[in-house]
């Protein structure tokens, strides 16, 4: 695997040092060759000013560097600071393109965001912005904190899955990040069960067709079998199955509504408990005050 990281100039003075080292470390630990490319024009700019900067012409690359970059298996763009490299994404031959955000994307860069296969973000706010404002799906945006000791392991695992074209497993974890169900894990479980049930509600095998593999007689046999069963299937079995599918769907909707209702109740309960606790505290302080007042007056 060949990895190119496109990072802003000036590692020492740039605040992304730990993030850059997290990314490079994760590949180095797996003996993967990492090529670091630097963008020059943001040198000396603070992060705040580079956020508002427009995308300029990308800096020229040496022929060898260009070859390395376009033929990489993974290209990681560290943002903000590497916006000028984004217009080069279409020249990447086959590699997975990853955008790593340590700040919100600038308007000028927005055109290129959807060229990326994946995004790593350093905070929930950036993740929300990418999902809400740019329409990213949750399974393409991963929260990677460089303070997390397992960060490098996580980055490598996600990248490997992306290369294999299999990011399904990450989806559930992302949805859990989006909806914190910390107060009621059993409700989360119920909701997940509901979603699975919804997918399974459609029990009809619509793609099933009576077939026979015999070379010449096959179609005739299949036709006869279809005719022999059609008097049962069409007026009777199919209708029962359709009714069952409709019923299943109603039940899953009901389950979904119940879980939402339970969740609402759970939240109300937590709020009421909080109010009760605060009430107890104020009652206790009032009693203390009364007691103190009594002592003083006596």
């Amino acid at each position: 695997m060949k990895v190119s990281v496109l990072a802003p100039q000036g590692e020492a003075e740039h605040p992304d040092t730990s993030r850059l080292s997290c990314l490079t470390r994760c590949f180095a630990e797996h003996d993967v060759q990492v090529k670091l490319h630097r963008s020059g024009e943001t040198q000396g700019l603070s992060k705040q000013s580079s956020l508002g900067s427009q995308v300029a012409e990308p800096p020229p690359l040496a022929v060898k560097e260009q070859q390395d970059y376009v033929s990489s298996d993974v290209c990681i763009y560290m943002l903000p600071g590497s916006e000028s490299w984004l217009p080069r994404i279409p020249s990447v031959e086959h590699g997975i393109v990853i955008l790593d955000f340590d700040g919100t994307p600038s308007e000028g860069a927005s055109r290129w965001l959807h060229h990326a296969d994946l995004c790593f973000v350093s905070s929930g706010d950036i993740r929300r912005k990418l999902i809400r404002d740019y329409g990213f799906s949750t399974d393409r945006v991963y929260l990677i904190s460089s303070d997390d000791p397992s960060c490098s392991h996580k980055v490598f695992a996600i990248t490997e899955r992306a290369i294999e074209g299999n990011l399904d497993a990450a989806q559930e974890s992302c949805e859990s990040e989006q909806r914190p169900w910390t107060q009621a894990p059993h409700l989360h479980a119920l909701r997940v069960t509901g979603r699975i049930a919804e997918a399974r509600a459609n029990v009809a095998l619509r793609d099933y067709v009576v077939r026979s593999r015999l070379p010449i007689l096959g179609p005739i046999i299949a036709w006869v079998r279809r005719q022999l069963t059609s008097h049962l299937r069409e007026p009777y079995l199919d209708r029962i199955i359709e009714r069952q599918v409709a019923f299943n769907r109603e039940v899953t909707v009901w389950m979904e509504q119940s879980s939402a209702f339970l969740n609402e109740l759970e939240e109300r309960l937590t709020r009421l408990e909080g109010q009760l606790d605060r009430g107890d505290e104020s009652e206790a302080s009032r009693v203390t005050q009364v007691e103190h007042g009594g002592e003083e007056s006596s």
Partner: protein
């Protein structure tokens, strides 16, 4: 070898000047891609009316930088419609392949020339983008593109509440075998992922309005032109006047509220149908209903500028373009919590979502807006901001262009 500019072939059932949401979507994206330097060709039918597939338009046209090639299609008459109904109903009942074939023939447009041209020249393009899966051109266009080995992207425009628009095994085959599916809403995407498509192969694209701001609507002047008074509270219904768009639900809600809120006016705009004629005759004695019929663009702008909110309790929306239009004028909207619309409208934030065909909830939402002008204003402003931020043609084309690039890279990756 990767290159910056792509050669793209869009295959669609109809293209402007034909009217329709799917037609507008593909035209907007094609023109924006052409502006960005890509070579975009469109293969489509010569028709501007899907009810007949009549061959009315010229064979070739260069339209805003896009080369549009139009092909003759077999006309759709009464018998073809009957074939389609037989096919759809039979398929729903039995799932038989014969019924699928009848649906394929009945849907149209059947353009042998388009298929033949694709067989011969698809290989000249980097990517083929098929739009509107309910029509047959997607099936034979897909077959031709696959034969040439060209990556295929599909925008299904599926109405999730109407299974006949996507739920046939040949349509599923196209969706599953395509390189990428561009859903219109997050709800549609999540439906396709739940139905077994790989998450990384389904992206939410959405639709967008032109970046140019609509002219500032002078509400007072628009109201004068439309014969509405400044004190009226105007609820606008904008769309084809059918049952699936919820015209009867709006009328029910209006009739229930009119007694308590005499200032309420219901403005109806859009093509009429047999259903609407019967319905409007029944509600003839309810005061405050104004039917403007089919309206011009200018009158539509007046209506959007003059109204206080838009109510479209439609159960058959792939996206709901009209919500964007209302938001762009700073108006709150009321829609139905279908899978697609509920991911476009944020309930309580930029509009209200009601249960399908629930007139009482619609009435309740209208009352909220009548009684709280601040809420109305806040919701409208949030909607306006949402359109600016997310739903412009430029943003939508960013997504489409990004998807093409990802698909091409993925193809090169699997072949290397």
């Amino acid at each position: 070898m990767a290159r910056d500019s792509m050669r793209v072939l869009h295959v669609t059932h109809q293209y402007p000047p034909a009217i329709g949401g799917a037609e507008k979507y593909i035209a907007d994206v094609s023109e924006e891609l052409a502006r960005r330097g890509h070579v975009v060709h469109v293969y489509t039918s010569r028709s501007r009316d899907y009810a007949t597939w009549a061959n009315e338009l010229a064979g070739f046209e260069r339209r805003n930088g896009v080369d549009v090639y139009r092909f003759r299609s077999l006309p759709r008459g009464k018998a073809t419609w009957q074939l389609l109904h037989l096919g759809v109903n039979g398929y729903r009942r039995t799932g038989g392949q014969l019924y699928e074939f009848l649906t394929f023939v009945g849907s149209g447009p059947l353009c042998p020339g388009l298929f033949w041209r694709m067989m011969r020249s698809s290989h000249r393009y980097d990517i083929v983008h098929l739009s509107c899966i309910v029509y047959s051109h997607v099936a034979y266009g897909f077959a031709a593109a696959r034969r040439s080995g060209i990556p295929v992207v599909v925008t299904p425009h599926a109405h999730l509440e109407e299974p006949q628009t996507y739920d046939m095994s040949y349509m599923w085959h196209v969706l599953r075998q395509s390189d990428h599916v561009l859903a219109q809403t997050m709800g549609e995407r999540s439906f396709f992922v739940r139905s077994g498509l790989a998450p990384q192969n389904v992206t939410t694209g959405g639709v967008g309005l032109p970046a140019k701001e609509p002219p500032p609507a002078d509400s007072e002047r628009s109201r004068r032109r439309l014969g509405l008074s400044g004190d009226d509270f105007v609820v606008l219904f904008l769309g084809r006047k059918t049952r699936s768009k919820g015209l009867d639900v709006v009328l029910q809600a209006h009739a229930a509220l009119k007694r308590h809120y005499p200032q309420l006016r219901l403005a109806l705009a859009g093509p009429g149908t047999e259903f609407s004629e019967t319905l409007l005759a029944r509600y003839g004695d309810v005061p405050g209903v104004v039917d403007y019929g089919m309206v011009s663009d200018e009158m539509k702008r007046d209506l959007l500028g003059a109204c206080d909110c838009l109510a479209l309790p439609s159960t058959g929306e792939a996206f709901g373009y009209v919500f964007l239009e209302a938001w762009s004028f700073g108006k709150p909207v009321i829609g139905v919590e279908t899978e697609a619309v509920s991911t476009v409208v944020d309930h309580g934030r930029d509009g209200f979502l009601i249960r399908p065909r629930c007139a009482s909830e619609l009435a309740e939402s209208i009352v909220h807006l009548v009684e709280d002008p601040d809420l109305r204003h806040r919701m409208g402003s949030r909607g306006q901001e949402k359109v600016r931020r997310r739903y412009t043609i430029s943003r939508v084309t960013d997504v489409v262009e990004g998807v093409y690039d990802r698909v091409l890279r993925q193809r090169r990756r699997s072949s290397s």
